[in-house]
């Protein structure tokens, strides 16, 4: 089972990872975007962390929704609505729950991903965060089918995101700012796919050995 505290620990660990990788994410965005992805994410997750302590009941759905609405209200840019919608929709799928089975976590994750796809309208291969999130989902589903532990399943999920992230390098972007570069966007790793990998790597780290 994944507890309420696990979820909060995950969000906190990701927030710390974002801060640690702020310059790196911004650097990636300066190659094919507008040099703000790390700054945007860090602004949002600094605000998120400030909200976590004030949460009243141990409701995973409510907590994730707070993360989402805080991101929408503080990040801006493309990543604000996208990550915001991800957390809001993920939270909506588990309203009132104090703990999640791996299956429930997977379903919630898929609901969040659905929100990203709906508002961002990106297809796999467009060189966006979707290219990390979809392989992550697929890896998680496969791990569950294999009967993997929480720890193993989430690690395989993070590995899936990592491969997806690396696979964005040769792509020519069709969505987001990188698309303005046309062919010149090839050869660079997508910043949003990179932060999405960090998101799932943080989960794998928090839940290691479980």
């Amino acid at each position: 089972m994944i507890s309420y505290d696990d979820i909060l620990a995950w969000v906190r660990r990701f927030a710390a990872a974002v801060t640690a990788n702020k310059a790196y994410l911004t650097e990636l965005d300066s190659a094919i975007g507008d040099a703000d992805h790390g700054i945007n994410m860090d602004r949002g997750f600094t605000a998120v962390v400030g909200k976590l302590d004030g949460l009243a009941s141990p409701d995973i759905g409510a907590a994730l929704k707070t993360v989402g609405t805080t991101l929408v209200s503080t990040v801006g840019g493309a990543s604000g609505p996208l990550y915001g919608m991800f957390f809001m929709q993920m939270g909506g799928a588990v309203t009132g729950k104090e703990a999640l089975t791996l299956e429930e976590f997977a379903t919630a994750f898929e609901t969040g991903l659905g929100g990203v796809l709906r508002i961002g309208k990106a297809e796999p291969g467009d060189k966006t965060m979707v290219d990390a999130l979809i392989p992550a989902r697929d890896a998680l589903r496969a791990a569950i089918a294999d009967g993997a532990s929480v720890s193993d399943a989430i690690t395989r999920m993070a590995d899936g995101a990592e491969q997806g992230m690396l696979a964005t390098v040769p792509l020519v972007a069709r969505k987001g700012r990188a698309s303005y570069l046309g062919e010149r966007s090839a050869g660079h790793q997508d910043p949003g796919a990179t932060s999405s990998h960090l998101l799932l790597r943080s989960a794998a780290e928090v839940w290691a050995g479980r």
Partner: protein
């Protein structure tokens, strides 16, 4: 990084405090970072708002006032504002006749404005949106994010603002904005990169003898990098794709807008305008109106963009109408 700022985190707040102090007769600044016309809401008047990342000054905050925008939402530097801002702006300017959102075509702007529009509609305010996507440097395609909104936005805000000021209803104002979008094309270039304050170093590096053609307004690198060329050559590189795209034809009357990216002095913009005039003369196109200066910028980037808007009597009339904002003023 060399900037006249106190700290990267406070640039936008400090700037807005300066705007509020300097132009209290025209605007007020409300939470969460919205520049609102001092006399808003005006009962029965359609509200016109826009917004986008900061770093493009005077756009958009400098265009709030009589005959132009009713409110502007400045995000962090080069980052779309958050829906809370557009919602607050929409509510602050709604005089009962509905509100038009003028949105530049960037994924972030589109999504954040759309969220705000949904929230505003949920509160009972009629909201329409027009997306400005005038940058011919970007290939237009159904499968991509599409063209960026650049210089045409300034012209749309002026023209649409005049119509709203004159009492046009929401449908008319919205259709007029779409008409501007349908008749405007732009393209830009950079001699230098710019530095996002929080990033602390230039977004891209350009050699001493290089320039970027086809840049946007966010310090994004452009489509091609090439050796520095003369003003005449650069003007042709920007004007030709614009002219061929719409296309503009002999006999057309246009508004020619030569825009500096923030770090380019006026003397150079007039040199470019002079070259543009020659090119349009040769094609039998008349420059009926012009705008020359730094109006939609990329921080301190050196470079310029050219925007051409095909004019008819309606667009000309609204362009000529009085405007009184910090950044654009005539007729009163």
């Amino acid at each position: 990084m060399k900037k006249l700022i106190n700290a990267p985190e406070s640039v936008v707040d400090d700037e807005l405090a300066g705007v509020a102090a300097a132009h209290a007769d025209l605007v007020r600044v409300i939470e969460p970072n919205v520049v609102v016309r001092a006399d808003a809401p005006k009962k029965g008047k359609v509200g016109v708002i826009s917004g986008g990342g900061s770093g493009h000054e005077p756009m958009h905050g400098g265009f709030v006032g009589m005959g132009m925008l009713d409110a502007a939402c400045p995000g962090a530097v080069f980052t779309s504002p958050v829906p809370d801002q557009m919602l607050a702006a929409t509510k602050a300017v709604d005089g009962g006749a509905g509100v038009l959102h003028i949105v530049k075509n960037y994924t972030g702007d589109i999504m954040n404005f759309e969220l705000a529009a949904e929230m505003a509609r949920a509160e009972g305010i009629e909201v329409t949106s027009v997306v400005i996507a005038d940058d011919v440097a970007v290939k237009d395609s159904l499968y991509t994010a599409g063209r960026r909104g650049v210089g045409g936005t300034v012209l749309a805000e002026k023209i649409v603002g005049a119509a709203a000021e004159a009492g046009a209803d929401l449908a008319t104002v919205t259709a007029l904005c779409q008409k501007v979008q349908d008749n405007v094309r732009s393209m830009g270039m950079a001699l230098t990169s710019c530095t996002v304050p929080a990033a602390g170093k230039p977004t891209f590096e350009l050699g001493d003898d290089e320039m970027e053609i086809g840049i946007g307004i966010h310090g994004e690198p452009g489509r091609t990098r090439m050796k520095l060329a003369s003003a005449a050559e650069i003007t042709a590189m920007l004007a030709t794709p614009i002219l061929d795209d719409l296309p503009f034809k002999a006999g057309d009357k246009v508004l020619a807008f030569v825009n500096g990216m923030g770090g380019t002095p006026l003397i150079e913009l007039y040199v470019i305008f002079n070259e543009l005039k020659k090119i349009l003369d040769a094609r039998g196109i008349t420059i009926a109106r012009n705008l020359i200066g730094n109006y939609i910028t990329s921080l301190e980037m050196a470079g310029c963009s050219i925007t051409l808007l095909r004019l008819d009597d309606e667009l000309t009339k609204h362009w000529d109408a009085p405007v009184h904002t910090p950044g654009l003023r005539w007729g009163r």
